[in-house]
């Protein structure tokens, strides 16, 4: 079964991460930014003992502990690589694609994929014991699959109680108290953390594609395992014009783009976990 090699190496890599994550727990931080505990602000404030107490207190509300970055060189390299690949090489293709394909069609494709991977959000809402969110996701799936023509249209969004959610396995791990671990940049996948990298594996398993084209699929030996990657890459490409816009709005005003991206990713994820 030579075709299963890439999948196995990927799993081995993730297993290694899984083992590494608890070790790096020390670097994890409380999720709640507004936490009154002085310990939260201590790492940022302790740098200068001379700082007046009043100033320290001021930072408390916005200064959680910074994330550890033990693989700085690796991260910096892949950050540069991803920048060249997406912002350089792929940008003209994304622009051309956005020019040719109407926004409605692109939005429809994106909606359909999001609807298709509803089990990820549903399962993770359940794993976080958030039954309100789980029932919302279920309601959205039922409405959008039927009235929204297989998820192409997000008709459920019209209801303020059925706004799109974004729960994933990384957030579930965070909900149960696992910290970020450390910051890591993956080739092509971009910024992540130890916890969220493990989360990615969980998401991949909760993704219906895994069961359709995965190792236990009924097609047997000759099942086209690579198709799930083709679909996922297709979704990434479909969303690339918007992704690049977000990327630009983050890195263009930055004095140090690498740090800006690292911090924005961690802040975004901590906020997502807390919700």
């Amino acid at each position: 079964m030579p075709t299963s090699l890439p999948r196995n190496t990927f799993l081995v890599l993730l297993a290694a991460l899984l083992l590494a994550a608890p070790v790096c727990q020390a670097a994890g931080t409380p999720i709640n930014q507004e936490s009154p505990k002085p310990a939260v602000a201590a790492p940022a404030a302790s740098a200068t003992a001379a700082t007046p107490a009043q100033v320290d207190e001021d930072y408390a509300e916005t200064a959680p502990a910074p994330v550890a970055d033990p693989f700085y060189r690796w991260n910096k390299f892949w950050f540069g690589f991803n920048h060249l690949f997406y912002s350089g090489l792929m940008r003209p293709f994304a622009k051309g694609y956005a020019f040719i394909v109407p926004p409605m069609v692109r939005k429809g494709l994106s909606n359909a994929y999001q609807n298709f991977i509803f089990p990820i959000r549903f399962v993770n809402a359940l794993l976080q014991l958030n039954f309100t969110k789980a029932s919302k996701e279920f309601g959205r799936f039922m409405i959008n699959t039927t009235l929204g023509v297989g998820g192409l249209m997000d008709v459920a969004k019209a209801d303020p109680n059925l706004q799109p959610g974004n729960e994933d396995f990384g957030q579930t791990l965070g909900f149960w108290g696992l910290g970020d671990g450390f910051y890591i940049v993956w080739p092509f996948l971009g910024p992540s953390s130890a916890r969220d990298s493990v989360g990615l594996a969980g998401d991949a398993v909760a993704n219906p594609l895994f069961w359709i084209f995965g190792p236990w699929a009924i097609h047997g030996e000759d099942n086209p395992w690579y198709l799930s990657y083709v679909v996922k890459a297709g979704d990434v490409f479909n969303n690339l014009p918007e992704t690049l816009e977000t990327y630009d709005s983050l890195t263009k005003p930055a004095v140090d783009p690498y740090s800006a991206m690292k911090d924005a990713y961690i802040q975004y994820r901590r906020n997502a976990v807390s919700q």
Binding site: A47, D256, S259
Partner: protein, 196 residues
């Protein structure tokens, strides 16, 4: 006459009672007043006219300057490092950083079309600070933006949080990284160079 006066008082009391719940706190008031001013300027046809545009732009910058507490924003963006800067360096830093923010965000503000700003809630952060949560609703897009304000003779913004990402903290991470190896003067030079 006495009856009329008592009715008037009663009527005023009812009006006040009805109006009170609709009134948000002072931070929200201050913020929404400033945002309304800015939107009014942008929606003005004079902004589209190339002849009057520079004058309008100057007005817009004045209006934006009035909302933000650049010194407070800069102090927080440097965090504990602020004290490493001499008063003169602090002054130059505030100017350079303000210019950088203005250059990068003015285009974004000017690309305003017909987005609506909804004021969701106001939180008291204690010691004269508050957070106002808003949502900018545009064409098929909704962006949650929170403003953190402090009261130094009037409520002014010292941080903007977009999708959970604090602008001040994002810059603090960057500046902190740069200041590990570089001097305050080198950082100011870097920021100033960025604006061109």
């Amino acid at each position: 006459m006495h009856r009329f006066a008592s009715r008037l008082v009663l009527a005023l009391a009812i009006v006040a009672a009805l109006a009170a719940p609709a009134l948000a706190g002072a931070p929200t008031e201050a913020l929404s007043a400033s945002i309304d001013t800015i939107i009014a300027l942008l929606a003005d046809p004079a902004y589209k006219n190339p002849d009057t545009r520079p004058a309008m732009r100057a007005k817009l910058i004045t209006a934006i300057d009035a909302v933000f507490d650049m010194k407070e924003l800069s102090r927080r963006a440097l965090g504990a490092q602020w004290n490493r800067f001499s008063p003169e360096q602090q002054q130059r830093f505030v100017t350079a950083f303000g210019q950088l923010l203005q250059n990068t965000y003015l285009d974004k503000i000017e690309s305003y079309t017909d987005e609506k700003v909804q004021y969701l809630k106001e939180q008291d952060l204690g010691t004269g600070k508050a957070e106002v949560d808003t949502r900018v609703v545009g064409k098929g897009k909704e962006i949650p933006i929170s403003y953190r304000l402090s009261d130094h003779s009037g409520w002014k913004v010292y941080d903007v949080v977009i999708e959970g990402v604090s602008l001040v903290q994002n810059y603090r991470t960057q500046f902190g990284q740069i200041l590990v190896n570089e001097t305050p003067d080198a950082l100011i030079a870097k920021i100033a160079a960025k604006k061109s």
